[in-house]
């Protein structure tokens, strides 16, 4: 998921070509306070003009309690990007207010409520404490992510490269996401020059269970993709499971064994996920 500053036309017009799974057009932290209007208008025009084919488009709006948040939603929701990302969510009350507003706007434009997904960012200590309830609040929420910079600030600590201070939060958020069976994304790695540092962090958060990692520079795409691309061994195993599942499905068998191990629905889900990340079509295996 590549962050693109919402007031930067050069990046907005090229966002889809770098090979990221998704682009995140940012109206929040990457836009100066006096350019919020400019960015909002620019992103609206770009969404209607540029084809982001093959690339999931998310727009990050400003927090609903800032002077910008409501206007962002009014402009962006009618354009129905694939998803909208809400920053610094802390409580159920907040998320319910926002979703209500989103649906009011959708109603006004006669738009369905199930097309545009909602992503929630947890960036405060309170948000971390409430993360499961927030993530579980609505079926529209299909991913949550952690905002490391803001969380570190909220916790009054200096974010270090080893991420020790936000480690608990990372694990908590992953757990909540897994409990809700939704995707979970890690925070950005800001030192663009440090490719090894990025790789180490990506490997670590993959081990924690994150689905992916947000990035701020196209150069980071390759490294994160490499880390998250399944190994040949993983792919082989996943293919085997999925094939066995398809075979058994025809015969109406739900639970079966592969290589002496029980395979049930979650295992199949995981295998499908591996193939998806490796960009392999199930029909091809």
């Amino acid at each position: 998921m590549l962050y693109i500053p919402g007031n930067n036309p050069a990046m907005l017009q090229q966002g889809s070509v770098y090979g990221a799974d998704g682009v995140l057009l940012d109206l929040e932290d990457a836009v100066a306070l006096n350019q919020k209007d400019a960015a909002r208008i620019l992103v609206s025009h770009m969404l209607q003009y540029v084809s982001y084919e093959g690339c999931e488009v998310t727009v990050r709006v400003n927090h609903i309690d800032t002077p910008f948040g409501e206007e962002d939603l009014k402009q962006i929701v009618p354009l129905q990007p694939d998803a909208i990302r809400l920053p610094k969510v802390e409580t159920i009350d907040e998320i319910s207010r926002i979703i209500q507003l989103v649906e009011d706007i959708e109603n006004a434009h006669e738009l369905p409520h199930d097309k545009m997904k909602i992503h929630v960012m947890i960036e405060t200590a309170l948000g971390v404490q409430n993360v499961y309830d927030i993530a579980n609040y609505s079926s529209r929420i299909d991913a949550i992510s952690i905002g490391g910079q803001d969380l570190a600030a909220d916790m009054q600590l200096v974010k270090t490269n080893d991420g020790i201070g936000i480690d608990y939060a990372r694990k908590q958020i992953v757990m909540a996401a897994k409990a809700c069976k939704i995707d979970v994304f890690d925070t950005v790695y800001v030192d663009v020059e440090n490719e090894e540092g990025l790789r180490e962090e990506a490997e670590y958060i993959k081990k924690l269970g994150f689905t992916g990692k947000a990035i701020i520079n196209p150069r980071q795409i390759e490294i994160v993709n490499e880390v998250f691309t399944p190994t040949e061994k993983e792919i082989r195993k996943a293919a085997k499971i999925v094939k066995a599942f398809e075979r058994n499905k025809k015969e109406g068998i739900g639970v079966f064994a592969v290589d002496g191990k029980m395979v049930d629905a979650p295992v199949v889900q995981r295998a499908l996920r591996v193939l998806e990340m490796a960009d392999i079509d199930v029909a091809d295996i």
């Binding site: 036309p9 006096n34 400019a38 620019l42 770009m46 540029v50 400003n62 910008f68 962002d72």
Partner: protein, 96 residues
């Protein structure tokens, strides 16, 4: 849309356009000053687009100064819209 003050939007950055607008007395017409790094290829296009956008908003008396660094049409429209809204005091949700 009634323009009240001079205002600008956009930037000097590559693929962007800096648009400055200044209200003019009624009847003066549109004064458009255009500079573009793609003048030869897209100068006319650009001018037409500005006129179309102004037509759509019903703005007849205005001075527009355009400094284009090869912006695509959506960027041009967005910057013009931003500048006009700023000029008319209609910009919502921003800090100045």
């Amino acid at each position: 849309m009634e323009l009240k003050i001079k205002a600008q939007a956009g930037s000097f950055e590559s693929s962007d356009v800096l648009i400055m607008v200044e209200p003019q007395p009624t009847g003066v017409g549109r004064k458009i000053e255009l500079e573009s790094i793609v003048m030869q290829q897209f100068g006319d296009d650009l001018l037409n687009q500005i006129h179309r956008d102004l037509d759509a908003l019903g703005i007849d008396d205005i001075r527009v100064i355009i400094n284009d660094k090869g912006a695509l049409p959506p960027t041009i429209s967005a910057r013009l819209e931003t500048a006009l809204k700023r000029s008319a005091g209609l910009q919502a949700g921003t800090l100045t």
